[in-house]
């Protein structure tokens, strides 16, 4: 029993130190800050190959988004490049009746945000 308590304390200490550490990393903070916005259902960063790097959603949803939207981003990028070679895709929005997916594609990664849309 004592061991268990000690373990728990140790875990709490680790948790606290993890918090302090994460405060220093601006990107992580921003990522979480975005996830806490109103109407955000989930955020996800995928690598250029479609592997999720960070996600706030459960794994099946994460996988679904990563797998389906990764190719979409690539296609959109390519299509835009074909139309305007000098222009770069900065934002991709796809809207359904109740949801909106915001994608910010970059060379190495893409940020995907699933948001509840306030449709009238």
């Amino acid at each position: 029993m004592e061991d268990l308590d000690a373990e728990e304390r140790e875990a709490e200490r680790l948790l606290a130190s993890a918090k302090l550490f994460q405060r220093k990393t601006a990107a992580d903070e921003t990522f979480k800050w975005i996830a806490s916005h109103k109407g955000v259902l989930g955020t996800l960063i995928i690598s250029s190959m479609g592997f999720p790097i960070r996600s706030t959603m459960d794994s099946p949803t994460t996988m679904k988004f990563a797998v389906f939207l990764g190719p979409l981003v690539a296609k959109a990028k390519q299509a835009l490049h074909m139309i305007h070679a000098s222009q770069e895709l900065t934002l991709l929005r796809a809207r359904t009746s109740g949801r909106e997916v915001i994608i910010v594609p970059k060379d190495d990664f893409a940020i995907i945000i699933l948001q509840k849309a306030s449709n009238k």
């Binding site: 373990e7 140790e10 875990a11 680790l14 948790l15 993890a18 918090k19 302090l20 994460q22 405060r23 990393t25 601006a26 990107a27 992580d28 903070e29 921003t30 990522f31 979480k32 800050w33 975005i34 996830a35 806490s36 916005h37 109103k38 109407g39 955000v40 955020t43 960063i45 690598s47 250029s48 190959m49 479609g50 592997f51 999720p52 790097i53 996600s55 706030t56 459960d58 794994s59 099946p60 994460t62 996988m63 990563a66 797998v67 990764g70 190719p71 934002l91 929005r93 909106e100 915001i102 910010v104 970059k106 060379d107 190495d108 990664f109 940020i111 945000i113 948001q115 849309a117 306030s118």
Partner: protein, 956 residues
């Protein structure tokens, strides 16, 4: 009272000091009770009694129990008398007391007792009663049969109603009072006391709830028994006292004077109605003097406080626990594990050095030649369920330990595409895979977990996809199918999915800060997000009319200007006809949002400024106004694109008190600090916290807080120059050369107050503290200065010795003065005397005085678009929008907030007003109902008309 019935007084002190007393547990002040144990020192005892006696003449009675609990609260007559008898010089007073007793005794037969039909005593109790205290067990037995309560009760009534004062309204805890006096053997009387003794309930029905007040002699032994004995106290509800009772009168119609009464009622009603619209009655507030406070300061070391806050996601928590478990396993003296840890560390270094794509390449996913080897080996330990891994895991880990130094080479090799490199890379992949398989290094520094997760996801997806017949030419999907093939066993796809669920939530230790461009991308994403959530508000801000759902689809579009003007004009005319009735629905402000975030929380907003070029960029300066609460300053640039987080921030060593953007170089931001410094920042690179130039001791600086800075285009060869004002009494012009150089435009001098009769007193300081200034829009060499003593001076840059004119009217510090943007001879000033004054340049007294707030007004602005409109903010959180065309007596809008407001700002491009204050939030309000003319001349005309109706002598 140590006094027997015949009035003999006996010195109780003689008996007090007998050695039978027990040492006190309770200490001072001593209870005067019978069996509370006393200290052995007679002097202490007597002193304690004396103290208690001196506390109050009206002795407070309480029950035996309560006396035991609160020792110091009671006293009895005994103590009083014993004190006196102790000090013989006070025997005169004692004699007086004895006399009063006698008088009381003579009055005893007059007391009337009332009994109800059941024989209960319902005699009204005196308003002031006394509960004497303490009882003794033995006395109880002795006295109950010796004294009849009937004969003794009156004496206690009369006696104590005179004596008691404190206990007068305490509720009766006991139903009846009785008085008894000890007349027994004097030798029994060690101390005597007034005591209430509940009579034995077995006695008689009449005596059942009676209490006897006795002069008891006190016997000290048998203490233990006494304390053990249960004591019952009966608590009953007290009577209700009515202090004031006003009853309404209802008269019968047949009452003869009913007509008079009705008339009177009607008159009163009429009076009430008159009050509403009458000029004789008006609500107005007056300023009274503050009560003088004398503050004392004490120096203590400041308490060091620190606040840390963080958000934790579910995966943070799960990670931390996983890490903890891992750490627990690390304790084992396993050389293999230790090696793998070290190896993991090197892998982290590698991942930090390389970008994601490079990692992926090096892990062997991008190169077709390596993928075939890498994929099965990576997934081997995991998916083929030990067929390969069982034997291979151990060896691979071992090889990992030996290979860890060559891993960098492995990366290089794979990049070059050499076969050896690819083999090494694939081994590395398998190492990480096996590590994941062994679940020890689940988030072990490299890309392993998510790669694993995504692989599995790919597998499961491709299983489904192949059923659905999705195109297989996508590289991801084809690789998925390849992996499925390579995994061989079909059923394990589901296993893999389950495992993926275990691990996909795990975060890798990939440092997001190292990912190039991620912050920028996150910013873009956040903007898109916020624009979604605040779409309607932004449209409203921009004054885009939302599409009317009723005429949706019809040809008429309501966006064109003339069509819009019409209904607005109608509203305006309606307003003018009945200015009072239509305040609420027509003119109002609607709160849109607050510019605030965690960075700005707890800071005071001291100044606001729009950028001159990009007019949606609101710059906010944060700094405390009070000397005692100074901390570092902050400047935040808020953009409409993201109302939740500032576009950029600048931190400054001192509180920011003034801001202004240059017009000719919109990237130059002049900042005034509480420390008296001036700095100029180039906002094109807000990441750099250093200003281009700043004043300092070498260049000269203000010695007091800078309250305003303003760029002035003086049409000279110097271009724009900066002017600042400070409480040190200097108006200073700064030139931006190699460093800041300054010229004092004016040193403000105190003006002797011209109050009649009062002799002129020498000033302690000859300088007057400047609070604000404003340059005339007509002539950039003329400016106004508002001072702390309540004067407004008109000055010229050409004369730095004397004022051109002085405007007298304010009785408190003038916090803001601003020229009208439409009629250049008019200006407004606001002050801490609660008033706003409208002045004309050539008149030394105010044209109009506006007052509605009841706190000092901190800031004032004219509207940029509407000539008649200005806004003020006050200390008590009132944002007031005045419209002179609507009323010069009351503000068109008062919006109350629960914070101190310090600045207000109108927007040039939209009908927006910004108010900001002490909680670090700048609130954006949309003004509704303030329509302005298209033509500027019309606006001027409107203002002139409004003034003409309010001011008698308006010169040009």
């Amino acid at each position: 009272m140590v006094e027997d019935r015949a009035g003999r007084s006996m010195p109780p002190w003689m008996t007090d000091s007998k050695p039978t007393m027990k040492p006190s547990i309770l200490g001072l002040p001593l209870p005067l009770g019978v069996h509370a144990s006393m200290t052995g020192n007679p002097f202490n005892l007597a002193k304690a009694r004396a103290d208690a006696a001196a506390a109050s003449m009206g002795s407070r009675a309480s029950s035996y129990r309560s006396r035991r609990q609160s020792v110091g609260s009671q006293m009895s007559h005994l103590s009083y008398s014993s004190k006196r008898s102790l000090r013989s010089m006070k025997s005169g007073r004692f004699g007086r007391a004895g006399k009063s007793f006698k008088m009381v005794e003579a009055a005893e037969p007059d007391i009337i007792q009332v009994f109800d039909e059941h024989g209960n005593d319902v005699t009204p109790k005196p308003l002031t009663t006394l509960r004497a205290t303490s009882l003794h067990e033995r006395l109880l037995q002795i006295n109950t049969d010796r004294f009849s309560p009937e004969s003794e009760r009156p004496s206690i009534y009369s006696r104590y109603s005179m004596a008691s004062s404190v206990a007068s309204f305490t509720p009766d805890t006991l139903d009846n009072d009785g008085a008894d006096r000890e007349e027994g053997d004097p030798s029994m009387m060690r101390w005597s006391s007034v005591a209430i003794i509940p009579k034995d309930t077995a006695h008689s029905a009449e005596n059942q709830r009676r209490i006897q007040l006795i002069y008891s002699s006190i016997i000290s032994p048998r203490l233990d028994q006494d304390f053990e004995r249960p004591i019952s106290v009966i608590i009953t509800e007290s009577e209700t006292f009515e202090i004031l009772s006003l009853k309404g009168h209802i008269l019968n119609n047949t009452y003869e004077n009913v007509k008079d009464v009705l008339d009177r009622n009607a008159r009163y009603k009429k009076l009430l109605q008159l009050k509403v619209g009458s000029a004789n009655y008006s609500d107005s507030s007056a300023q009274t003097l503050f009560s003088l406070h004398k503050s004392k300061e004490v120096q203590v070391t400041a308490k060091h406080t620190e606040t840390e806050a963080c958000q934790a996601n579910s995966w943070d928590i799960s990670d931390t626990y996983a890490r903890k478990q891992q750490a627990g396993k690390k304790e084992l003296p396993d050389p293999e594990n230790r090696d793998s840890i070290v190896q993991r560390g090197s892998a982290i270094d590698v991942s930090e050095d390389a970008r994601i794509s490079t990692l992926l390449v090096s892990a062997g996913y991008l190169e077709p030649s390596t993928s075939t080897t890498a994929v099965p080996s990576t997934l081997g330990p995991r998916i083929t369920a030990g067929s390969v891994a069982g034997s291979r895991r151990g060896t691979l880990l071992g090889s990992a330990a030996s290979l860890r130094k060559t891993l960098y080479g492995a990366f290089a090799g794979s990049r070059r595409g050499s076969t050896v490199g690819s083999v090494l890379a694939s081994k590395r992949g398998s190492i990480s895979g096996s590590r994941a398989g062994s679940r020890r290094g689940s988030n072990a520094g490299s890309l392993a977990p998510s790669r694993k997760g995504s692989m599995m996801g790919n597998i499961s997806f491709s299983r489904r996809a192949s059923k659905a017949g999705v195109m297989m030419d996508d590289p991801l999907l084809s690789r998925g199918s390849l992996m499925e093939k390579s995994s061989g066993v079909g059923d394990e796809g589901t296993d893999a999915l389950l495992m993926a669920e275990d691990t996909a939530c795990e975060k890798k230790d990939l440092d997001l800060n190292k990912v190039f461009g991620l912050l920028k991308a996150l910013e873009v994403a956040e903007r898109a997000l916020v624009q979604n959530t605040m779409h309607d508000k932004l449209l409203f801000y921009r004054d885009f009319k939302p599409r009317d759902p009723e005429i949706n689809g019809s040809v008429q579009v309501t966006l064109s200007a003339p069509q819009n003007e019409k209904p607005a004009d109608e509203k305006e005319t309606v307003l003018k006809r009945s200015p009072i009735a239509k305040v609420g629905p027509v003119k109002q402000v609607e709160w849109l949002w607050d510019f605030s975030c965690d960075l700005t929380e707890g800071r005071n907003i001291s100044c606001l400024a729009w950028n001159r070029a990009s007019k949606d960029l609101l710059t906010i300066g944060y700094g405390q106004f009070e000397f005692g609460s100074q901390k570092d300053g902050l400047i935040a640039f808020w953009s409409l694109k993201n109302a939740c987080y500032p576009h950029a921030t600048l931190t400054a060593p001192s509180g920011v008190t003034a801001l202004d953007f240059s017009t000719s170089n919109p990237n130059l931001l002049a900042v005034g600090f509480y420390s008296g410094n001036i700095a100029i920042y180039d906002v094109r690179s807000p990441q750099d916290p250093m200003p281009i130039v700043q004043s300092g001791l070498s260049t000269g600086k203000h010695t007091d807080p800078v309250w305003k800075v303003q760029w002035i285009d003086s049409n000279s060869e110097h271009g724009e120059s900066l002017v600042s004002i400070s409480t040190d009494g200097n108006v200073t012009q700064w030139f931006l050369k190699k460093e800041l150089e300054y010229v004092n435009l004016m040193t403000l001098k105190r003006v002797a107050s011209n109050s009649r009769g009062a002799p002129l007193q020498p000033f302690i300081s000859r300088r007057a503290a400047g609070m604000c200034f404003d340059f005339s829009p007509r002539d950039s060499s003329i400016y106004l200065v508002g001072t702390e003593e309540g004067r407004i001076h008109k000055c010229s840059r050409s004369y730095n010795e004397q004022y051109l004119q002085t405007y007298v009217g304010h009785t408190g510090p003038v916090f803001q003065v601003r020229w009208s943007p439409f009629i250049p001879s008019l200006f407004l000033s606001c002050s801490s005397d609660w008033t706003v004054c409208l002045w004309q340049e050539d008149k030394e007294t105010a044209l109009l005085v506006f007052q509605s707030a009841t706190q000092s007004l901190q800031d004032l602005r004219w509207s940029f678009t509407n000539a008649c409109v200005f806004g003020t903010v006050s200390d008590d959180g009132h944002l007031e929008i005045w419209d002179l065309s609507f009323s010069a007596v009351r503000p068109a809008i008062v919006y109350e907030e629960k914070r101190r407001l310090s600045c207000v700002l109108f927007c040039q491009t939209s009908p927006i007003v910004v108010s900001a204050g002490s909680n670090g939030a700048a609130s954006i309000f949309r003004m509704v109902g303030f329509d302005c003319e298209i033509n500027e001349a019309d606006e001027v005309q409107k203002l002139r008309k409004a003034l003409a109706s309010n001011v008698n002598t308006l010169s040009d």
